[in-house]
Amino acid sequence: MNLNYSEEQVMLKEQIQKFCETEYDFYKREDVVKSDNDFDSKVWSLFAEQGWLSMPFSEESGGFGFGPIELSILFEEFGKALVIEPYLSSVVLSGNILDNSSFADKNNIIESICSGSMHVSLAYAESTNKYDYTNPLTSLSADSKLNGTKALVLNGANASKFIVSCNSGDDLALVIIDSNADGVSVTSFPTVDGQTCSEVSFENVLVSDANIIASGSEANDLLLRAINLATLCVSAEAVGCMTSCYLKTVEYTKSREQFDQPISNFQVLQHRMVDMFIESELCKSLLIKAMLEVDTNSEDMFKHVSALKAQIGKSGKFSAQQAVQLHGGMGVSDELMIGHYLKKMLTIDALFGNSDFHVKSFSV
């Protein structure tokens, strides 16, 4: 047994760390958040140049064929630096579906995603779904018209295409629609962590057969696998956040003096930080378990991702809340990074099922 990263994986990790340190500090991030776009086109081009946008695509599709371990590394580092570029929506969610599908036109679209020239968003959620994404109300009629409203479409404002889950007869179908097609309307809203998500409505949007990516059990499988992978990614992001939370809190309490001594001298704070450390290590353990299961495409992979997300929901919020508490007033100040980890944790908890939901999924 060897639970260490390979040499290449360590190199990847260092490469991402270097980028976060030199190109993406907190002030840079704040500029991106405050800009009209919720991504920085220069950063996005850099992602393309580094090969990060092609990383998880199979070699046949022109990618590097990296798996969930490399994606977890990337997201863990993104979590530490609170990178908010819209990687999840285009590359992970949409990319994974396209890559694994038998959709005829997939190579052109994947190429555009990899080069950074196109964003594609997966429209999987609806206002009534309660995390069950396989029974959408949005429908594709017998005469090929798409009707319905999708909620919380990540990075919807920048997407040139949407992959939309819908019901077609009694089956689930995944179709791909141009965002400027007739009958498509997009309204965007800010997210807690400074990105945007959109409500996307389809009114009698014409869908040609060529734009159906998959239907029936194939569509079901593609959708669930993509969401499972995305759940793993945001959980890895949360582990990165938790690591930063305890490290930054230790650093702060050592430098903050009250009662003529660093507040890190107080045992109650020491134990709290130890708890934060333990929670982050336990989540890291579940992350490693889950990414290995997904990597081998095991039967139990959904279950282990659920275990991870269930734990993240509890431990992640605990860590971020304690980080804020131990930073005192500084913790709730928008100018400091620390409070933004809490906002990121709220975002992650809301995505793809919260702790209760995944405890239930795990036990089924």
Binding site: K130, F189, T191, L269, G328, G329, D334, E335, K343
Partner: protein, 390 residues
């Protein structure tokens, strides 16, 4: 043992309920608080003026200074009913912080000058306590006041100053002497916010709101007559004031109201896990309410509950925070969205539960309650030292 309030107390309660329900509580303010819309300075002023017009502004003052002279039980009922009625918290800085210091330690001139305006809410006060280097360890404060003839010259900075952007006056703790024991050499001075040399800079908090500020003092010249009590005795007054800050800290009425709202929302969700969490919270609320009543009973029957009241701060704030967490949880996937403290624009609201924006805003905003007014860690130190005797 008798858990019931007296007939008079019940009448008093009904009088408050009647006032709240029948036009006393300004309807435009009520509409906003009911719908989670942020209040403007004018809204806050209207609300306080209405309370003042009813004669309730001096809720914790003795009669001789124009207060209500209420018993501890009446004060409890007043606070609880205002919370249940969905009122915004009454601003404490004037009426329940600086005023008791002025009428207890100030001179007649100061009483005449400041108390009537506080009762009528003509002046808006803010609190100059915390400093960048002095939070939990307040006595280490460094803002300096040097006496020059008939004036003090103040230099330094205060932080986390709530609503300083609206304030007419600030009460500040300043160091008038460097002493071996840091608690000595502190003085309590009242400063007109219009005095040259004062600069207020907003601090934006993680909910995106502007509630707190940094206040900088550069050669601020304040008449010596604005010193309250004796020079160097400020720490005594500061501690006296903090004891008054405990009023209503359990926020039991507000939490009960929020709990009711939460129960309504959760009852529609068909979610047994959430129902269990709400039930557990309801038990905590009940335990807190009864603990507050026990402290009240002790007070009314000749006892002197002291540090036990820190329980109210700790559990009260934990409950407030848990409530906000459960609202966020009830919003499910939609908790992803947050348009900022002022909510979605009315012409572009997304589908999904209508309480999302308010819930996220409250969740983020309420992180402060376990930090301010003596952090919950400090409260536990107080209990361990003064109650457990360790």
């Amino acid at each position: 043992m008798d858990i019931n309030f007296t007939q008079e107390d019940l009448q008093f309660r009904d009088e408050i309920r009647d006032w709240l329900a029948n036009g006393g509580y300004p309807t435009h303010v009520k509409h906003k608080t009911d719908n989670g819309i942020a209040l403007t300075k004018q809204d806050m002023t209207d609300f306080h003026k209405a309370v003042s017009a009813k004669g309730w502004m001096g809720y914790n003052w003795p009669k001789e200074h124009g207060g209500t002279g209420w018993s501890a039980t009446q004060l409890y009922i007043f606070n609880k009913e205002f919370g249940l009625g969905g009122c915004p918290p009454l601003l404490a800085f004037g009426v329940s912080m600086v005023a008791p210091v002025i009428y207890t330690f100030g001179n007649d001139e100061q009483k005449k000058r400041f108390l009537p305006d506080i009762l009528e809410f003509n002046t808006w006060w803010c609190q100059g306590y915390s400093e960048p280097g002095s939070g939990s360890d307040l006595a280490s404060l460094k803002t300096k006041a040097v006496r020059e003839g008939d004036h003090y010259i103040i230099n330094g900075s205060k932080t986390w100053t709530t609503l300083a952007q609206n304030a007419d006056w600030i009460f500040v703790l300043v160091r008038t002497e460097t002493t071996k024991i840091k608690q000595e050499g502190i003085s309590f001075i009242l400063v007109d916010m219009k005095t040259p040399g004062i600069e207020v800079k907003p601090i934006i908090t993680i909910d995106g709101d502007h509630e707190v500020n940094s206040v900088f003092f550069t050669d601020v010249k304040v008449p010596a007559e604005n010193l309250v009590g004796e020079e160097g005795k400020g720490w005594t007054y500061a501690k006296f004031l903090l004891a008054h800050e405990r009023f209503g800290i359990a926020a039991i009425g507000t939490s009960m109201r929020q709990l009711k709202r939460l129960k309504n929302i959760v009852s529609e969700l068909d979610n047994p896990e959430m129902e269990k969490k709400v039930a557990e919270l309801e038990i905590s609320v009940s335990a807190l309410e009864m603990t507050e009543l026990r402290l009240l009973s002790a007070l009314e029957n000749g006892g002197h509950p002291g540090a036990e009241s820190s329980i109210l701060k700790i559990k009260g704030t934990e409950i407030q925070q848990t409530l906000t967490e459960l609202f966020v949880e009830a919003a499910g996937e939609y908790a992803l969205m947050y348009p900022g403290p002022h909510g979605f624009e009315s012409n572009s609201k997304p589908e999904g539960p209508d309480f999302v924006a308010q819930s996220i805003s409250a969740f983020l905003n309420m992180r402060k309650v376990s930090i301010y007014g003596g952090s919950n860690e400090i409260q536990k130190n107080i209990i361990s030292k003064f109650v457990l005797g360790v």
